[in-house]
Symmetry: C2
Subunit: 244 residues, 2 copies
DNA sequence: GTAATAGTGTCTTTAAGACACTATGTA
DNA sequence: TACATAGTGTCTTAAAGACACTATTAC
C-alpha cells in the first residue's frame, strides 16, 4: 500500500478519537512547604472540588506548546522556571463525560513570581501539600486547605499530584530543578531551605554545602544579602549553561 | 465559558481530534549488548525504514491496556517482564500523514523468551544498539544493522529510543528492572552481565556483589548452575514482592 | 593435579553525617 | 560588646573501587 492509498483508506472520522488535554502541576515553596496552584471547579462533574489547571491540545499544536500556552493563560507568566512533561493519564473512566487523555506537565516557579501573577485572578489558589515521608510511591497526596482540613481533588488529579511530587523529589539531587524555585541570586541557606521543603526533611548543613559546591553548578558572586540583622550570607548564582 | 459549558456545546466531530497510538520500545540483552525489536516498514511514509511496533489506542481502551495488547499482538507474549510508560511524543509534524500523538512504552523481556516468540514472524527483527557512554542525554541513538552499518529509524523513533535507553539506565540501580531480562533463576555473574550491557561499562565484581546482596532484593537458592566446565555458581532468585 | 571461574578479605578512596568550632556582619 | 547566623575543620561512618587471595568444581 502506498502512502496515497493509505491516506485514501484512512478516514479520521471512521473511529472516534479521544480528546487530548494538558494538565499542569504548578508548584512552588511557601513557608517552607511545597504548595500547588489549584482551581476550584464551579460546575459538574466534581463541582466545588479542586482541579489542576489545564486545557485542550490544539490539532496543530505541540504538547509542550500547549503546556506553555495554558501556563501563560492561567498565570500570565511566560515559561520562565521549569516545565517538563510528567506522565500521561488515560484511564477511560477518568473523566465521566467523554474520553479524555491528559498529558500532565509539572512546572516550578518562585513564590514571588507566582504570587504576583495570581493577584489578578480570583479563581486560582495556592494550597500547601501535606506529603508523607518516607515511603511515598507516587500515589495520592493530601492537600491541606487554608483551614487545615484536606481538600478533595477532581478527576484523578490526586494521583497526578503524587506522581509530580515523586518526580520532583527524584530529580532534586541530580538536576538543577531546585533553582527554578529561587531568584537569580540566592544564599546557600535559601537553597537548603528549598531542598528541605521538597524532601520534607532537615539536612545537614556542612554536608549540604559541600555537595552543592562540589557539583559545580553554582558560583559565588562576592556580593552579600541585605537587610539582615546579623552576618549576611554570600549570594550565589547558577552558572550559565547549567539550566538543565 | 466554563469547561463544562464548553463540553456541553462540544460536538466531538466539530473539531478534529488527534489520533493516539502506543509505540513499544521492546528491549533485551543479546551477546552482552542492548538489542531492540524493530519492524521494517513496507509502506510509505518511511518505506524500508525501521520502526517501533505500535498501534492505535481504542476509544474505550486504557493506555496500559493498549500497550499490553500491542505487545501480545507483535510478540505473542503476555506482559511477563517489565512494561512501563516512557514519554508522550506529540510534535505535530512527527507523522506526515495526520496528527498522531504517541504514548511510548518501554518493555523488557529475556532474550530466550523473545527469540522464541519471534520465530513465527518474519517482519520483526532484533537489532543491537550502539549507545555512546557517557554523555548521552536522551537524544537519538544509533542502531547497528546485522551488517554493521547504521539503520535509519522511521518518524521520531530514534528520539524515542534515546529516551528509553536513558530511562533504563537511570532506573537500573534503584529498581528491580534488570531482573526482567533474566530467567527466574540466575547467577550473580548473569546479573552483572545484564548491568554491564545496559550501562555499557564493566563493573567491579566484589562491589557489585556486595551492592546486590545488600539491597535485599534477591535470595540464594542453594542450587547451582549446570553444564559448566568449571566451578558452578550459585543460583539466585528475586524475592517475592520485590517485583517493583 | 590443572584449569577456570566462584567467591571473599582487606586496603584505599570518597562522600555523607555529626558536631563543635571560628568568622563576621548588625545593632 | 553581644548576638545571631555564616561558614569551616575534623572525626566518624558507610559504601564503592582495586586487587589479590582462597575455594570449589569439571576434567
Amino acid at each position: 500500500m502506498t502512502e496515497f492509498e493509505f491516506l485514501q483508506s484512512y478516514d479520521p472520522r471512521e473511529f472516534p478519537h479521544p480528546s487530548v488535554t494538558v494538565d499542569l502541576v504548578l508548584m512552588t515553596v511557601r513557608d517552607g512547604k511545597l504548595a500547588i496552584l489549584l482551581q476550584q471547579r464551579g460546575d459538574h462533574p466534581f463541582k466545588d472540588h479542586w482541579a489542576l489547571p489545564g486545557g485542550f491540545v490544539g490539532i496543530d499544536e505541540g504538547l509542550d506548546d500547549a503546556a506553555v500556552r495554558v501556563l501563560l493563560a492561567k498565570t500570565g507568566m511566560p515559561a520562565g522556571g521549569w516545565l517538563e512533561q510528567l506522565y500521561t493519564f488515560g484511564n477511560p473512566a477518568r473523566d465521566p463525560r467523554t474520553r479524555i487523555i491528559t498529558v500532565a506537565y509539572f512546572a516550578l516557579l518562585p513564590l514571588d513570581v507566582l504570587s504576583r501573577a495570581l493577584q489578578a485572578r480570583g479563581d486560582l489558589e495556592l494550597v500547601e501539600l501535606e506529603v508523607p515521608w518516607p515511603g511515598e510511591r507516587g500515589g495520592a497526596v493530601a492537600v491541606k486547605s487554608a483551614g487545615g482540613g484536606s481538600l478533595d481533588l477532581a478527576f484523578d488529579h490526586a494521583e497526578v499530584l503524587g506522581t509530580a511530587v515523586k518526580r520532583l523529589r527524584g530529580k532534586l539531587d541530580y538536576s538543577t530543578i531546585a533553582f527554578a524555585l529561587l531568584p537569580e541570586l540566592f544564599t546557600l541557606r535559601d537553597l537548603q531551605a528549598v531542598h528541605e521543603a521538597i524532601l520534607g526533611v532537615t539536612l545537614n548543613k556542612p554536608a549540604f554545602r559541600r555537595r552543592m559546591l562540589d557539583k559545580g553548578w553554582i558560583e559565588g558572586t562576592g556580593a552579600r544579602e541585605l537587610g539582615t540583622s546579623y552576618r549576611p550570607a554570600e549570594l550565589y548564582r547558577l552558572k550559565h549553561n547549567q539550566g538543565d
